[in-house]
């Protein structure tokens, strides 16, 4: 079985975000780029399944410019067999998905994994859009995946519990945390061999976007925390009624 893991390139989670001068984007100067944490977990699960002999090939794909190649090579170092980069700015989810769809059309995969969201835009759109474009079955919020004899057992998070589903490929799974516990660390051998693995660059078939960013702002400053003595319950009630106006 062949698996495709869709990878998003995001700023390191400790980055101090600065708004760009046009107010429509973030300033990318000096940013450390990493693999989207959900995609990293998806990739880890794919590699675990490959180690167990359930998957024959793990391919990673990204829509982005050359700055994403370091992240793709890290995925190769971690154990992916092949990487594909569609060369265009990932303007929005539509641009990303329409380009990914073209990649998949040329090469059908048994399973496609998409992280439920990316840690920068948190759009939560690509998985659903991609399944729609390709007319694939989709299961969302997947926190567990096992494969036995071409049959997939999928666990998903639902309100108040977990749901276990059985399905088979081709299928697109939108991945939630829990799919893997610890993201895989690339071995030294993997790192040294990463450049010997194929990293295919394909030209974008579409740079059409469906959305326009009007403005990007930082969130409002968090309010200060007022500490009140445990014996002073009356003061808490007064503040909740008169200042917060929630009582």
């Amino acid at each position: 079985m062949k698996i495709l893991v869709c990878i998003s390139n995001v700023p390191d989670t400790t980055t101090k975000i600065v708004i760009g001068t046009d107010g429509k984007n973030i300033n990318t100067a000096g940013i450390q780029w990493i693999i989207n944490p959900w995609d990293e977990l998806a990739l880890t699960r794919a590699l675990e399944l490959k180690d167990a002999g359930k998957i024959s090939e793990v391919v990673v794909a990204n829509v982005g410019t050359a700055i994403t190649e370091a992240t793709l090579r890290k995925s190769l170092a971690t154990g992916a067999d092949r990487a594909i980069r569609v060369n265009t700015e990932p303007a929005d989810a539509w641009t990303v998905t329409s380009n990914l769809a073209e990649v998949v059309k040329n090469e059908p995969f048994d399973i496609i994994l998409c992280g439920i969201e990316s840690s920068d835009h948190n759009g939560s759109s690509v998985g659903g859009l991609l399944a729609g474009m390709l007319d694939l079955n989709l299961i969302s919020s997947v926190s567990g995946l096992d494969i036995e004899n071409e049959k997939l057992t999928v666990q998903r998070e639902i309100d108040g519990g977990k749901e276990i589903l059985e399905t088979q490929g081709p299928v697109l799974l939108v991945i939630q945390k829990g799919i893997a516990i610890v993201p895989r660390i690339p071995s030294m051998r993997g790192i040294m061999q990463a450049r010997t693995k194929p990293l295919q660059i394909v030209e974008a078939t579409s740079s059409e976007s469906m959305t326009e960013t009007v403005q990007v702002t930082l969130p409002p400053e968090k309010g200060k925390c007022k500490m009140i003595d445990a014996e002073n319950a009356g003061e808490v009630i007064r503040l909740l009624r008169e200042e917060a106006k929630v009582l």
């Binding site: 370091a70 090579r73 890290k74 170092a77 610890v182 993201p183 660390i185 690339p186 071995s187 030294m188 051998r189 790192i191 040294m192 990463a194 450049r195």
Partner: protein
Amino acid sequence: MNFEFTEEQLMIRQAARDYAQRELIVDVLERDEKMIYPARHIKNLAELGFLGMLVDPRYDGGGMDTISYVLAMEEISKVDASVSVIMSVNNSLVCYGIQEYGTEEQKEKYLKPLARGEKIGAFLLSEPEAGSDATSQKTTAEDKGDYYLLNGTKNWITNGNTAGTYLVVAQTHPELRHRGINVFIVDRHSSGISVGPHEDKMGMRSSDTHSVMFNDVKVPKENRIGEDGFGFKFAMKTLEGGRIGIAAQALGIAAGAYERAVQYAKERKAFGTEIANHQAIAFKLADMAVKIENARNLCLKAAWLKDNHKPFGVASAMAKLYAADIAMEVTTEAVQIHGGYGYVKEYHVERLMREAKLTQIYEGTSEIQKIVISRDVLK
């Protein structure tokens, strides 16, 4: 001059950092307090390839450069210097020594399992009465024709009990003094070897340090490394390489303490503001930052010289001397910045300070490094 790292070097550094910050941190305090050997971590690091980083892939190593090794050593040492000393002895003393000077047969038989981390190596030079004065070592290796007979005691041996392969320095021809010293690859489980208790050390307590006694231990002739009488030169050359590993370790200990001090200074409040806003503390952090940057540059320069097959003995001595000294200064200051919290185990910095001290002593004391440097200056 290109001061940038390659993509591979950055990936290696990140892999070491991820393992240290996610896995080593979990049980480092307990292992330090109770002197528990980090068996699970050594196995994991072996699987990731950290124990044979510099060994040629022909012998199952990673084939990496020394700069990558320095980066990995720094990241591991920020969290756990016990694990990094095990890594350093295996990589830059034992593997390096056998790869540089061993025969093809010796490399096939001994280097491969060491590079894979299936066996751990130990380097046996110091004795109860011979540390810096290595040539007055008393362990003997009598030439018995087709084997050597080892007798003597070695001291302060890292991996003394857990190693599978020893490199043992011993005297064969006393009349030739240091030119009559040899070095041997010795199987840890040879008959006649006994190991003393796990030393109760000030720091790096999770790494096992022992005396090792040899009582009529037979060593096959083919296990001698190099020509008859090469042992002392082997030891000095190998320690030159090992020095870079320890310099990187000291750098990591300092950097780990510094990062914690910066974080603490941003959070702790005194006199109405975070202590980072008081110049007394901010200036301490500035001084620490400069020292660490210098130590890092010295380590990387020594690594670059070695990778480019240029003489690196003086550079590695400078790196080790400086990094060890600033590790002591930076960790002491980190404890100070933490105030009372710096004095309790939970905040790690007191452990880093205890660990820093050893870097000024082992693999060539700071005083020995000064001898190496001053001899070069005055030649």
